[in-house]
């Protein structure tokens, strides 16, 4: 392929890429956005409602901890 052919191919690839970039940006620009205050409220609510079901937050009683090694009891 001579110099002009390959540089033409290169520039048409670049234009195709640029068109795709613009297409993608149009898609992303057109979405609805909610206010961060509303988004934050929802995140806080979720954490609040689910906190009591979060073992790592609440702590796990030893008797209910499947990962805790059960030590044998010695009778003194």
């Amino acid at each position: 392929m001579d110099q002009t052919m390959s540089s033409k191919l290169q520039s048409s690839n670049n234009i195709a890429q640029a068109r795709r970039t613009v297409q993608q940006l149009k898609l992303e620009a057109n979405i609805e956005r909610i206010k961060v205050s509303k988004a934050s409220a929802d995140l806080m609510n979720y954490c609040g409602e689910h906190a009591k079901y979060d073992p790592l937050l609440m702590g796990i009683p030893a008797s209910e901890n499947p990962f805790k090694d059960k030590k044998p009891c010695t009778i003194l």
Binding site: I15, Q24, E28, R33, K35, V36, L43, H50, P66
Partner: protein, 338 residues
């Protein structure tokens, strides 16, 4: 003006439009909004188990949905299936290529997958008398950085070739290729409803994808280096990322922007991995400095640290029931904490 210049101008205009729309929605920050929330308690977790068995750096781990079994991958060339309750090894799967970077457990518990510098995702059946290779998914032209099963018949992969792909495991073919990143894809996470996934890449961007139509829906900026770790907030409305820029960030999907950054002036190691507790309040982030820091996701404050590894923490995982956090390290050990 040539078409190229026109396209450039249009792209710049759209970027400004997006920037302006995000600013208009930014009436507060998450940290400010959460200033009235009671701080998370100081989290002091103990190592309950140290899983010993790998002979080299551990690169990845993934919990099974039964919250008891887990799979780990090491560059000793093995996948190990562990019973985390007892600390016993259930299975050791020898890998054709020891340069493994990721592993995954199928939701059914029947299959596991691995992949790495071989550019392939290999799927194994754990339920046959001897563990058997089901398929070698071979089409990526770069390393496999992450894999996640949707079911026993479909798996998502992220690759150093800058693409992600959805595969049909039975045919071994890619059903959909997700094209848009301009840097190596390093991580991916499935949305709770399984309709979307999020990817993080070396182009410092996180992208939200529709699994079925193959399109990139949103792009999140803010990081200044590779994004190595990514996870959905449990409600599905936000994602958390971890980066080589030493920060983690939360992006809200519906406001389309970063809402908080988790960083500390004294922290100058990259984030390698992260996992959230079931309520989403705690973020467990693994760092190059051998520690796993625990962050209050709403307030952006550090509330604890998991110290105990003698090398980089490379992977972190919380099982579905939230009963513990597992850390895996280049020191060849996995630790279970709660």
């Amino acid at each position: 003006m040539g078409e190229m210049d026109q396209m450039k101008k249009e792209a710049e205009g759209l970027k400004s439009q997006i920037e302006a729309a995000r600013k208009a929605a930014a009436d507060t920050t998450l940290a400010d909004a959460a200033s009235g929330v009671a701080p998370a308690p100081r989290v002091q977790l103990k190592t309950r188990k140290t899983l010993k068995g790998h002979l080299a750096k551990i690169y990845a781990m993934h919990w099974a949905t039964d919250c008891r079994l887990m799979v780990s991958a090491s560059q000793d060339g093995k996948l190990i299936i562990w019973d985390a309750f007892s600390g016993n090894k259930i299975n050791a799967v020898p890998l054709k290529s020891s340069w493994v970077m990721t592993c995954a457990y199928a939701p059914s518990g029947n299959l596991v997958a691995s992949g790495g510098l071989d550019n392939m995702c290999t799927v194994y059946n754990l339920k046959t008398p001897v563990v058997k290779t089901v398929k070698e998914l071979d089409a990526h032209t770069g390393y496999l950085s992450c894999a996640r099963f949707l079911s026993d018949t479909e798996i998502l992969t992220a690759s150093g070739d800058t693409t992600c792909a959805l595969w049909d495991i039975e045919t071994g073919k890619q059903k959909t290729v997700f094209l848009n990143h301009v840097g190596d894809c390093m991580c991916l996470a499935l949305s709770p409803d399984m309709n979307m996934f999020i990817s993080g890449a070396c182009d410092s961007l996180a992208k939200l994808w529709d699994i079925r139509d193959g399109t990139c829906k949103q792009t999140f900026q803010g990081h200044t280096s590779d994004i190595n770790a990514i996870s959905f907030f449990p409600s599905g409305n936000a994602v958390v990322t971890g980066s080589d820029d030493c920060t983690c960030k939360m992006y809200d999907l519906r406001s389309d922007q970063e809402v908080i950054s988790y960083q500390d002036a004294q922290l100058n190691s990259g984030v390698t991995s992260l996992a959230l507790s079931v309520s989403g309040r705690l973020i467990f982030a693994g760092y190059d400095d051998f520690n796993c820091n625990i962050w209050d996701s709403l307030k952006g404050e550090k509330v604890g640290v998991l110290s105990g590894h003698d090398n980089r923490v490379s992977c972190t995982g919380v099982p579905q029931d939230g009963m513990c956090v597992c850390t895996g390290s280049w020191d060849s050990f996995l630790k279970i904490w709660n």
